[in-house]
Subunit: 344 residues, 3 copies
């Protein structure tokens, strides 16, 4: 894929300052600019890079006035960041423009697939499955019986969706993610062994949910494990049975949520965080990485540590934890002085 | 699937109180009852729900005497919970009643499969593999050379079993689980690089072991990594080479066990727990979530924290950790008072 | 596979002491010796095992002089450990000697594969893919468009390589590992939802990198996520976008690295460790299991805890943490005594 600066400027409705014939074949950060690369400058903090970048083209804001000579070609636009993001999207769509239904896939006769679908080699689509418009089903995807998949959904290679689950419009599920495996529910027997409790519920992903690689979301015992619209889950996350995660909450990699816990809207959850089962987390809660949460958390809290605590208090206590040997010494000195005073 | 209350009562040997013709098409919790749903009431704590539930049918204990009017149809049985669990099992078996060997699977000529098997599309069964009766091998399962699989085993889509591993009767392995990948063993070389130590052992799962989605169990360097009968491992767990987990131990998601560690029987292990290598954990040990264990643990211990400690002691120390800023203040005040006293 | 002691001795250039006709059919540890098993004795600490082992053959150092009667057959060589490792390698290569390109795989017409390759059933090889010599591509592997794979690479069943990634010579990628899924990058919108930032970079694994089962390495937003030569990553590790891990660093299972962090050479990183984004870790750093790192770390550090700290200091503070209830008591006693003294 090669474009001239002129072609890109025309696409973005921008104005060229420099060589209109310079060729762009890749996109890059301004600080890692390469020949034939195109970058952008939006944050003034990065301005100094434009005077030294090797990128052939840099998209800048109309308002940008260089303080020194600029050797690269600039394309001036209203909003440099937004324009660059648009170019990124176009480029990415080009990379992922798979179409057609492979004759090497397996599609049950009772499944229905709307127009515009890509179904890759060795993909498996079970009985009664319904797939919306413009779905992208990569190779090795497994879609169990009676799954419903919305419009514009992407399932990357090897994503696994167990029977009866529901995937909303615009969802993206990365490779190796497992949606709808059995919840971890067992009844103890008298001999110390365990009897499995059948897990007959499902998982519902509402619209625009994104699921990272190798993340697992278990089906509900009964009813549904629910991931509400706009939630973004990173890689290797565990979501147990009957959990509910509310709108637009974002969770970093390797965090885990035990059964029946409810997490509010617009939360920011760091990596490797653990949640006990059957607790409620409020809205807009911020949770530091590796935190372990064992009880309900109120709206708008900021928490940290295991067991978790208000983040600032935790860090204050932790600063004294670091001084514990010294504190113990101070106690010992006091004890000695008291002894002396008592002896007087 | 639709049944009348009468049909279900007849199946369970129960007595109907209410409308014998009401139709049941799904199962639900009593507190989340829906029309045409069937639920159960066993725990008296939930009794108030039966007066307001929207479930069309509720299974109750024979001994149950309502305190108010009940609008739903009841089926009275000896043990409501046991009967409901039986219905769950029947329903689940119905959902998962796949049979037949797909012509789109690959089965080596030297493999043997006993009667009653389901082998799904794109499943791969290697040379010399032996598979017992009534196995369910879902699409995209990989079974390497000379693997032995017992009777009534279920391998969900995308489970991977490396060569030479042994899977006992009644085991269930969820999607994306990897059994028998190479142990993480390297010999350091003088130039700072590492030479891989060939991992020629295997993994043995004894009977009735269940493995969660995307859990990984590495093969032994030599000999076997062993998961004894009745062990239940949740999702995203790591079990390193030469580990042994004894009977009926239960481990929650995202926990990890380093090489050659032995874990006893009937332990309850929380999520995100880490075990160092080459240590011994006793029987009936309870371990809190996110605990980090670096040394041997005795039978019947209850432990928590990193590095781990007796759980009650840890929580007691932790309660003082929360008071550290205040403790430091008290020390400072003492120091001031001592100075005053010394000045007298 | 069966060999006589004589055949093995001839292969290793060793000298037999005992029965030259005894048969070896497996390899084992000396302390877990079995009939027809072959083991080795190198570390004098294990010498006592040779007098009681059931292994049929033990490889020993030329210099070894038994203190008691040895009933097993010995093969004397210059370096027993090195010889045994050689036998392990030969045995392992024999177990993994798959060859040929399956007619049940899918190979794009624009892909190129050098000589000596194994391509298993249901493997998918995308457009423009280049694969080097002697590659082993197991069943269900996914190789996206325009991926480059070096010589002597092994991709175990179900490994997933997204488009444009580059895998160096001699790399090993285990089952379920996902290389090149989208980085976790979103721009917040005014309504609280998030817009995905297209992730158009790739992942580069340099030579001799090994990746554990179900580990995930995200592609860069732009540019590359880079794993330098000789790095060994265990199972279930998360590596976020634009991370760089330098040569010969070793990382245990379930650790996670947030975006744009750089990790130095020859580091030893324990299991379940977490790294914040945009930080720098020096060379030869040792990091204890479950550590949480939020800031830059200097070369040659040894660190532990969350937030992380110099390991020895952490453990010292932690020893006082365990004494906190007692310390609080001492403060209380001091307060009482001061009151008494003030009252005087």
């Amino acid at each position: 894929m090669k474009f001239t600066a002129e072609q890109i400027a025309s696409l973005l409705g921008g104005e060229i300052v420099g060589d209109k014939n310079v060729v762009v074949s890749t996109l890059c950060k301004i600080e890692e600019g390469t020949e034939n690369g195109m970058s952008f400058l939006s944050n003034p903090k990065y301005e100094h890079y434009i005077y030294e970048t090797k990128a052939s083209v840099v998209i800048v804001n109309k308002s940008f006035v260089p303080e020194k000579e600029v050797n690269t070609t600039m394309i001036k636009v209203e909003d440099a960041y937004a324009c660059f993001a648009k170019v990124l999207d176009i480029y990415n769509e080009f990379l992922l423009n798979k179409t057609g239904v492979s004759s090497l896939s397996f599609i049950s006769s009772s499944a229905s697939i709307e127009e515009g679908a890509y179904v890759g080699e060795f993909a498996y689509i079970g009985e009664g499955v319904k797939i919306g418009k413009n779905a992208k089903i990569y190779p090795h995807v497994y879609i169990g019986d009676n799954v419903t998949i919305g419009d514009n959904v992407t399932l990357f290679s090897g994503a696994k969706i167990y029977h009866l689950c529901i995937i909303g419009n615009g969802c993206v599920i990365n490779s190796g993610a497992v949606i709808g495996a059995d919840g971890f529910g067992y009844a103890p027997l008298e001999d110390g062994s365990f009897k499995k409790i059948a897990q007959i519920g499902n998982v519902i992903l509402e619209d625009n949910v994104e699921i990272g690689a190798n993340t697992t979301i278990d089906r509900a015992t009964m009813g549904s494990t629910i991931i509400r619209k706009g939630v973004k889950l990173d890689n290797l996350i565990q979501v147990a049975h009957n959990v509910i995660i509310d709108q637009n909450t974002v969770m970093a990699a390797q965090s885990g949520i035990a059964g029946s816990t409810k997490i509010g809207k617009n939360c920011f959850i760091g990596g490797q965080v653990g949640f006990s089962g059957h607790i409620n987390i409020g809205d807009r809660v911020k949770i530091g990485a590796q935190t372990g949460i064992m009880s309900n958390i109120k709206d708008d809290s900021s928490i940290f540590g295991t067991p978790s605590w208000e983040a600032r208090s935790y860090m204050r206590s932790y600063s004294f934890f670091r001084k514990l040997p010294e504190m113990e010494l101070r106690i010992r000195e006091l004890e000695n002085k008291i002894k002396e005073l008592e002896g007087k």
